[in-house]
């Protein structure tokens, strides 16, 4: 009976882990939206939420790792599962760092670039959402994992295009005058786009795990 309870608890822990990642992505989108709109208080609240969520994912990852090893569960796949959770943790770390950097540097995003900057944010968040769906499917329905991974590749590519466009606008137009601000703009554009790259890196690993686990 004990092991049934432990199995249930572990499944629930893993589900909550992915919920937390989803919530971090949502909080990130909300944070950037509030920042661009100049709603500082709400932006700070999102940043606090993300910090809490990041701590939660760390704790949860450690707990899952402990349970997997101490109860000798899924011996063939636990290394892969832990690898997946660890690389996913990097995504949340990046999300937190980007938002924290916004709070520290307070970059000035020109009005004419705000919409596209928000578009870049949404695209990065979409890659994270699809990465979460792919990862959830890995545990329950392995045959559809690749459908989500393909979407991640697509959104990441779209994010790259927006990233390039924003950088060109920053450097090849008069929208931003100072070189220092141009460089700062490039830095933030790259950091937001990096989230989609990291989600893609998670999916690259995942696609190998899928091959290993394919029946």
């Amino acid at each position: 009976m004990k092991i049934i309870g432990e199995t249930k608890q572990l499944i629930s822990d893993i589900d909550i882990f992915w919920d937390t990642i989803s919530r971090s992505a949502l909080a990130f989108r909300s944070g950037i939206k509030h920042y661009l709109a100049g709603r500082t208080e709400k932006f700070r609240s999102d940043l606090e939420d993300i910090s809490k969520l990041e701590n939660e994912t760390d704790t949860m990852r450690r707990e899952i790792k402990y349970k997997l090893y101490s109860h000798m569960l899924i011996p063939e796949s636990r290394g892969d599962v832990l690898g997946l959770l660890e690389t996913t943790d990097n995504v949340v770390d990046s999300i937190k760092k980007v938002l924290l950097q916004f709070d520290i540097e307070k970059p000035e995003i020109p009005e004419s670039m705000k919409e596209e900057f928000m578009e870049l944010t949404k695209m990065s968040v979409k890659t994270v959402d699809e990465m979460v769906l792919a990862s959830r499917a890995f545990f329950r329905e392995i045959s559809i994992v690749n459908d989500h991974i393909n979407k991640v590749h697509y959104f990441e590519h779209e994010a790259d295009k927006i990233e390039e466009d924003l950088k060109r606008k920053a450097f090849n137009s008069d929208i931003i005058k100072d070189l220092s601000r141009k460089v700062q703009m490039r830095y933030f554009v790259e950091k937001v786009a990096l989230i989609s790259d990291e989600a893609e890196a998670v999916c690259d690993r995942l696609s190998i795990y899928v091959i290993k686990r394919s029946f």
Partner: protein, 348 residues
């Protein structure tokens, strides 16, 4: 009593080696993939091997009796010793070996030595069963693999839950596999001693325990001893020489081979099939190792048939011919020595 034990020792040795090697076919992958602890596996295996041997061992043993009823205890000792030696020598030379084939060869060796006629129809039945055993296990492996995978895909069960169910499944199927191993293979260990059983039936609380049951119980104890003393080593390497099996593959392999061993051992199933006018399976001791290889090939075919090492099947073929031949010759030579050097009656 001491003399009886000395004469039984070759059968008990055969039992020990069966426990040491064949228990790995039942629980090896589960233990090597760390799904079940060795002690748990060994306890379950021993209990169910004993139950299987005592309750279900008579059928396959009768068939061996029909092939050649060794009628002197020194003869039985020598026949079992020849089979044991063959298993030992072939294992040392890394040739695939089956206790079932070794004992059949040794009995035929005794038939030749004693001048008794070998029942050709029984021999044909046995040989045809040996071929049928891996083929049937392969068919079970293929079908079970497809069914289980289809179920997993449709039901969207969580990976952790699948792991949990697989673990429970491995214990249940392992217990069934151990029962089938005991029921089917006890004939190899103690079958040749049945006609010359030194024991008498005893009655405990109104239940009569026959001399054969006592004999089978002793043989099963020897198997259990083999499981506890030596099978851990074998279990840790099982499967790696063919290919790495997943826990679900292991479950299917054990279930498939257990079903085959059960089919060729169960008098109940035979009676059931007869009652419905269906064709029956002969009750013959078969090789659990070959059933395992058959089941693994079945799974590999279920996965699309890639990377199958067909040389393994060739090796089984060599085993079919070489094991009974070697065992027959060794048996003949040992019987000669037993009769002419140690002055023992090896047949009446």
């Amino acid at each position: 009593m001491e003399a009886i034990l000395i004469f039984l020792s070759s059968g008990l040795f055969l039992g020990w080696s069966l426990g040491a090697n064949d228990a790995a076919n039942v629980f090896g992958t589960a233990v090597s993939t760390k799904m079940i602890r060795f002690t748990t596996a060994a306890v379950i295996c021993s209990i169910f091997v004993i139950i299987g041997a005592v309750l279900g061992g008579a059928g396959a043993s009768d068939t061996l009796g029909k092939l050649g009823s060794v009628n002197a205890i020194a003869g039985s000792f020598t026949v079992a010793l020849a089979a044991g030696l063959t298993v030992f020598l072939m294992t040392r030379t890394k040739l695939p070996v089956s206790t079932s084939q070794a004992i059949v060869g040794a009995i035929i060796g005794w038939n030749f030595f004693s001048g008794f006629q070998t029942d050709v129809s029984t021999l044909v039945k046995i040989v045809y069963t040996w071929i049928l055993c891996p083929v049937l296990a392969g068919a079970f492996g293929f079908a079970l693999y497809r069914l289980i995978i289809l179920y997993i895909r449709k039901s969207r069960i969580h990976m952790i839950r699948i792991d949990h169910y697989t673990r429970i499944g491995l214990v249940i199927v392992g217990a069934f596999g151990s029962y089938s191993l005991g029921a089917n293979n006890i004939a190899n260990v103690m079958g040749v001693f049945v006609p010359v059983s030194p024991f008498r039936s005893i009655e405990i609380g109104g239940i009569v325990i026959s001399a054969t049951h006592i004999l089978f119980f002793l043989g099963a104890l020897a198997i259990a001893l083999g499981v506890f003393t030596y099978s851990k080593k074998v279990m840790s390497t099982v499967g790696s020489d063919i290919f790495r099996l997943s826990a679900i593959d292991a479950l299917i392999v054990v279930l498939s081979s257990a079903l085959v061993l059960f089919i060729f051992a169960s008098e109940g199933l035979q009676a059931f099939l007869i009652s419905y006018g269906l064709p029956t399976f002969p009750l013959v001791p078969v090789s659990s190792s070959q059933a395992v290889v058959g089941a693994i090939i079945g799974i590999a075919l279920g996965k699309g048939g890639k990377n199958i090492n067909f040389s393994t099947m060739g090796k089984i073929g060599i085993g079919w011919i070489f094991t009974p031949l070697a065992s027959g010759i060794i048996s003949f030579i040992l019987l000669f020595f037993m009769q002419n050097v140690f002055m023992q009656t090896v047949f009446n």
